[in-house]
Amino acid sequence: MVVRDRGWNPWEGPVTATSRRFLVLTRYALKDVFESRVFLAFYILCLLPSAAAALAIYFSHNTQFLEQFGGLDSWFAKAPDWIFLHLFGWQAMPAFLVAVIATPPLIAADIGNNALQVILARPIGRRDYVLGKTAVIFLLLSPITWIPGLLTFILQALLAGGQWTGENLRIAVAFFVGHIVWIVVVTMLCLAVSAWIRLATFSRGALLAIFIISAVVGRLVNGVTHSSIGDLLHLSRAIESVVLRFFGATPPSALPSPANWLTLVVVVLGALWVLNLRLRAVQEIK
């Protein structure tokens, strides 16, 4: 009887803070994601570009190494600039694959069997729910993108000294802000697709298709109109252009910066619209 009484009588003890309760969803989802050993292995592999970059930077400052491999010294001497220019891309591609593999069931699993109604019957709102799921992707992508990127920058700063750091602080800012922008766009897309499509395989296909189709359509429009207006539809080019501008490099899109931002904002707003439409405990008849 004691066990039975405890089972359903009101809880009199302390409760967790409402503001942090969305993290319950995050914790459970992350545990689900890392239950697959194959995924875990792939995730670790995603750290390789950052590790390789860090090694290259280390050796570029190792005079003994540079003397021993004379042919490589010029390559290694200019490694820091070259590496930071390209590390972003090396990180972003596998990180995108991580998102494609891991995120489709995030919302689909809750919607598929009507679990959303018992989740939202708890003292958490739809915003908390989205926040919890967003945090999953953010916490998945951060350790393989901007965090190792900044650590690599710190390594270079330590080895190159204060003058280099002062002159190139822009790289660190570009790394952080660029990745955050990229993560926000990918996260919103992943959540919207997960909310819209129930089958994970189709979700993964849809995520890839969004980038491929937008690229094909964008180029077609550019070709037909003999202009760069199609870049408004070319999602990956818009992201690349925004990020490269942070680095001070020449963007691939001839459109002005606000136009590239417009593409990203429209994508994010579209994803939010989908989430607003789909994340309901019950579907209202309008």
Binding site: V3, R4, D5, R6, G7, W8, N9, P10, W11, G13, P14, V15, T16, T18, R21, V24, L25, Y28, D32, P105, A109, D110, G112, N113, N114, A115, Q117, V118, I119, L120, A121, R122, P123, I124, G125, R280, A281, V282, E284, I285, K286
Partner: protein
């Protein structure tokens, strides 16, 4: 606009402290419109009982009322209070006081019952260890054995219903909203579910609002009943008092059929409900000897074809409420 007050009943042994507290549920002029239709129409009700049945034909607004109480649907007017907390201004507190067992499937594929119920407990604010402990308590209470470690997707309908009940109970709600809890259950599982609902309502500090269109289920476990029709309150009944009362009902039929016999019965002091074709349901006054009915029939030149003692079943109450409401509208 009607008002309904349901008071605690004598069977509620653990209900003494509840009488001092604000009512479990207070609904004031609640209207909900969906798809251009009014589903709930200025509903007023106060619920303080232990196990209250929410009855009504399909489309009466039962599920809409439950979903509105959870904040899933926004009322077009009116408000509701759960234990004194306003749904309009304090939804989070209201949700922390409510446990909800929906009508249809509600689980996460690939999750075991333990993990699913624990997560629901944590989402309600239980600390991690407490959530795990209470998850096992709740699953034990609903009768889940080692199966609790299996994935919910692989369960039978009956087991899924039990898991839904466990997740609704895990945080110790003060009000349990059960939407058709016996849906799809075989007779044994249905009996078990009804037993659990009775246990919850009568032994703990949790009130139950049981939404169902199965009169048998409601009659088996509920002390009180709210009857909805077309989004309005069509009637109420204190089943416990009804069961405890010593009222005697008789169903009788005359041969040949004689509507005038109702007048004769009324003159004898009976409450008469005419059911057509010479059939009547009669509530006998305590002083009346049934032989006087036979004598009155003989005086009117009638034979009694049927004479059956009965009690007022929930079905009668329900049908009467439907009829009364039709009469009013």
């Amino acid at each position: 606009m009607q008002a309904l007050t349901i008071s605690p009943n004598s069977r509620a042994q653990a209900g003494t402290d509840m009488r001092k507290a604000p009512p479990l549920l207070e609904i004031q002029g609640l209207s909900v419109r969906l798809g251009g239709r009014t589903i709930l129409d200025r509903l007023d009700a106060t619920v303080s009982g232990r196990i209250v049945g929410l009855l009504g034909p399909n489309g009466a607004g039962k599920t809409t009322l439950v979903r509105t109480l959870l904040g899933f649907l926004k009322p077009s007017s009116g408000n509701a209070h759960v234990l004194g907390h306003s749904l309009a201004t304090d939804r989070r507190t209201v949700c922390s006081l409510i446990g909800y067992m929906p009508e249809d499937d509600a689980h996460i594929n690939g999750m075991s019952a333990v993990r699913f119920v624990r997560m629901m407990g944590e989402l309600s604010g239980l600390p991690r260890d407490a959530a795990l402990e209470r998850t096992h308590d709740a699953l034990t209470f609903v009768g889940m054995g080692e199966n609790r470690y299996r994935k919910v997707g692989s369960y039978s309908t009956g087991m899924k219903q039990m898991v839904k009940l466990a997740q609704a109970l895990v945080h110790g709600p003060r009000l349990l909203l059960l939407d058709e809890p016996t849906n799809g259950l075989d007779p044994a599982a249905r009996h078990r579910m009804l037993e659990l609902i009775q246990d919850i309502g009568h032994e703990g500090r949790t009130g139950v609002l049981l939404s169902s269109h199965l009169l048998g289920d409601v009659e088996a476990v509920c002390d009180e009943v709210i009857i909805l029709k077309a989004g309005r309150l069509a009637g109420r009944c204190d089943l416990a008092s009804e069961h405890e009362s010593a009222r005697i009902f008789v169903d009788l039929e005359t041969l040949p059929p004689s509507p005038q016999f109702g007048g004769t019965l009324a003159r004898l002091g009976c409450k008469v409900e005419e059911r057509g074709d010479g059939r009547f349901r009669v509530e006998l006054p305590s002083h009346l000897d049934v032989r006087s009915i036979f004598a009155a029939a003989a005086d009117d030149g009638l034979a009694l074809r049927r004479f059956e003692r009965t009690r007022d079943s929930l079905q009668d109450i329900f049908l009467r409420a439907m009829e009364d409401d039709r009469g009013r509208s």
